[in-house]
């Protein structure tokens, strides 16, 4: 019954990596001092655009590029509104979420009703799981090989992006300047850092990263469009909470994603685990299933409370977050 455990670990990764994309993308934006609540919508737009073009070309790489660009354009819109026009960041972000999810349904409905229909995949399936890469040696390890080393490229890319972003913040000069803007844009400005340029660039790249996460979710759903719920399914919102959970560190975001993912997967797999290990885990069946459904969110709530109680000095929260930088205000 080791299979159950393997599947459990496998699913923690497969179903929750989109959160890592959403979280790292949002961290990049928040580090520049902007709070973007439009993660859900940005992911939705990246997902639809990337998936549709990718399915037409039957090419995963093109799908990724298109979804990065589409979400990047949403980021550009957000930057234009909040950096250049100084619009309220909360309102703009919420508007983007409403707009993005609506865009998903609008395009989806229009295409499904059209004579051509929602594009069906032919030839090689553009499916995240069937794109699994075989790593010689590692993939063959019993149990662990399947759980950790049999994933598609987008899983490893998500982790790589988080690690690179962590290095970028910690070890590079532009990363340092970015953090300075997030803490005190006026001070950075006085040192000759182009605040607007930095904000634009990082909001666009951060949004693009979110788009990849959205595309991943669409691929994971087999790319079928149905009216019932959006592919993103609230993951954008969870990502925003995970940013605080991770204390604005991309490295801790990996940890946070898998911790949340553990409970997120437990809500589906608890019965299977109890079934496979009746002696060790049989007690899981005594807990009402609705408690497991609530558990990921209860954990998030607890972490948000504890991290809010952390001393200010240790917090990675950018001090200027959510406030537009208006040069004449200095």
């Amino acid at each position: 019954m080791l299979d159950v455990l393997t599947l459990f670990l496998f699913n923690i990764i497969v179903y929750n990596i989109p959160l890592l994309y959403g979280t790292t993308g949002e961290i990049m934006i928040e580090k520049s001092g902007s709070l973007n609540l439009g993660v859900e919508g940005t992911m939705a737009i990246g997902a639809v655009a990337g998936y549709l073009v990718g399915a037409r070309c039957d090419n995963l790489f093109i799908a990724c590029v298109v979804s990065f660009i589409a979400s990047g354009l949403v980021g550009l819109l957000f930057s234009f509104l909040t950096v250049t026009l100084q619009a309220n960041q909360n309102v703009t972000g919420l508007t983007i979420t409403t707009f993005g999810v609506a865009f998903y349904y609008f395009v989806g409905n229009a295409l499904s009703n059209s004579p051509e229909g929602w594009p069906k995949l032919s030839g090689t399936r553009l499916d995240a799981q069937s794109q699994a890469i075989h790593i010689p040696g590692l993939s063959d390890i019993p149990f662990i090989g399947k759980a950790f080393f049999s994933h598609g490229i987008l899983v490893y890319a998500g982790i790589l992006i988080a690690v690179l972003m962590w290095l970028y913040f910690k070890k590079t000069v532009p990363g340092l300047k970015l953090r300075a803007i997030g803490e005190n844009p006026a001070a950075a400005d006085s040192l000759g850092v182009n605040v607007a340029l930095y904000k634009y660039a990082h909001i666009i790249v951060g949004s693009g990263i979110m788009g990849l996460g959205g595309l991943y979710m669409g691929l994971n759903m087999g790319g079928t469009f149905e009216g019932s719920n959006c592919w993103i399914n609230g993951y954008g919102w969870i990502s925003i909470a995970l940013v605080i959970f991770a204390n604005w560190s991309p490295a801790k975001a990996i940890l946070g994603t898998f911790l949340f993912g553990f409970f997120n997967t437990l809500r589906v797999q608890n019965a299977a685990l109890a079934y496979a290990f009746p002696n060790a885990l049989g007690w899981l069946t005594k807990i009402p299933s609705h408690f497991f459904s609530a558990l990921p969110f209860i954990i998030t709530l607890i972490v948000l409370i504890t991290s809010s109680l952390t001393a200010k000095g240790k917090s990675g929260e950018p001090q200027a977050i959510g406030r537009n930088y208006y040069r004449e205000d200095r």
Partner: protein, 407 residues
């Protein structure tokens, strides 16, 4: 100036998104709005939907499709004579507003498709005695202008169960999975599971039906994971479903097992897996209701009344059998269907069917056998009559023998 531009851009974004999301959250104002008179030419139909009228699958889609089809059958033009208020949540105030709006449009009959519209519709039926109110899935009515309607979908599920049963015999895998939105909490899901299970057991008495309850009416991701668990952990070889999307069938297709969808023929989503799906043909009811209301609205409650029909009226049925079905399936389904249409036999009675024989000579045998729950309680004695409709519709909260809920 910057502020002005930013406000304008934000406002424009908000407005476009509201339009795109809501689709059309208002009644079409194309009809001429004259009230009174029930001649076919100025008969108007009102509809209140829980989701968008532009949906391409799912519950609202099925009803919208049924209403427009029925209107064509009775000679009405949906573009001109149908008024819709969609995306109406189950909130009394919102439903009442929608009804007022449709009444203002001069509708002669108003259909409300969601369970939670029940109280608002009952109240408004008193306020507008000249309009007929018709409520899906509910249980309230009056003797003048307010009825409810639903169908015996469990009969169609029984037929799908037969297809699954034959498949399990052929593959030698007695484990059958069922991804369900809810379990015993709702009689609708519960009677569906039981109907399906009894169909399976009529063909393969050794089969075990494993139910995974996802505790929500629609969540593609959970539906997918539930199907995966049923296949990978519980070794199920056929996956049936009572949930919104086709994800369970898609998973079955990916993993090389079989499945029975719901609501629409899901063979197009799962070409190598899908066997047959229980489906609704709502137009069967809508045409009946519209015809009666057009002829003489004052006798609606005696001619139509509360409507609870099954295979006999065509309201429920199964989709076309796919090529994945075992050869005996078609004959067995025809036999069972005939018995249910004639009223000679029904699913939840003290008589059970069993099918045997090869293609071309499938026979069905009736034996008296008590209907027993999975914890050994007798519901109907051997040879006894069917469980009451009221129980099937409203209070069934047990699984029959052979069903296990895994979570």
């Amino acid at each position: 100036m910057k502020k002005l531009i930013s406000m304008l851009v934000t406002a424009a974004l908000a407005i476009t998104s509201v339009f795109a999301l809501a689709g059309c959250n208002s009644a079409k104002e194309t009809g001429n709005g004259t009230e009174g008179g029930n001649g076919a030419s100025d008969f108007k139909v009102g509809a209140i939907y829980i989701n968008s009228q532009n949906d391409t699958a799912g519950y609202t889609y099925a009803h919208h499709h049924g209403i427009t089809e029925a209107m064509k059958q009775v000679g009405l033009d949906p573009a001109k004579d149908l008024f819709i208020v969609d995306n109406v949540p189950e909130d009394d105030e919102k439903v009442k507003q929608a009804i007022d709006q449709l009444a203002g449009n001069g509708c002669n009959i108003i259909f409300g498709i969601s369970f939670g519209y029940i109280n608002a519709m009952e109240e408004k039926a008193k306020e507008y005695p000249d309009i007929i109110f018709s409520h899906a899935t509910g249980y309230l009515s009056n003797d003048k202008n307010f009825n409810n309607y639903f169908g015996r979908i469990y009969q169609a599920r029984y037929l799908a169960g037969i297809a699954a049963g034959y498949k399990s015999l052929a593959t030698g895998n007695n484990n059958i999975g069922y991804v369900s939105a809810w379990g015993t909490e709702y009689a609708e899901t519960c009677s569906g599971i039981n109907g399906f299970a009894l169909g399976v057991l009529a063909v393969n008495p050794d089969a075990k039906i494993n139910v995974y309850e996802i505790s929500t009416w629609g969540d593609q991701e959970l539906e997918r994971q539930a199907a995966e668990t049923l296949i990978d952990t519980y070794g199920c070889g056929v996956i049936a479903q009572h949930c919104d999307s086709a994800q369970p069938q898609i998973v079955a297709n990916e993993k090389g097992v079989f499945g029975c969808g719901y609501n629409s023929d899901m063979t197009k989503e799962a070409p190598n897996a899908h066997l047959v799906a229980p489906v609704w043909n709502w137009d069967a009811y809508y045409a009946t209701a519209m015809k009666a209301a057009m002829t003489d609205p004052s006798t609606f409650m005696t001619t139509v009344g509360n409507y609870y029909e099954g295979l006999n009226s065509g309201l429920v049925d199964v989709s076309e059998l796919s090529a994945n079905c075992e050869p005996q399936t078609k004959e067995a389904i025809e036999l069972a269907k005939k018995m249910m249409i004639s009223g000679e036999w029904d699913v939840f009675s003290g008589v059970k069917l069993s099918f045997s024989g090869d293609t071309g000579s499938v026979t069905v045998e009736k034996t008296n056998s008590a209907l027993v729950t999975n914890d050994g309680k007798e519901i109907v004695a051997a040879g006894g009559p069917s469980v009451d409709d009221g129980v099937i519709q409203g209070s069934m909260n047990y699984y029959v023998e052979g069903v296990t809920q895994v979570n």
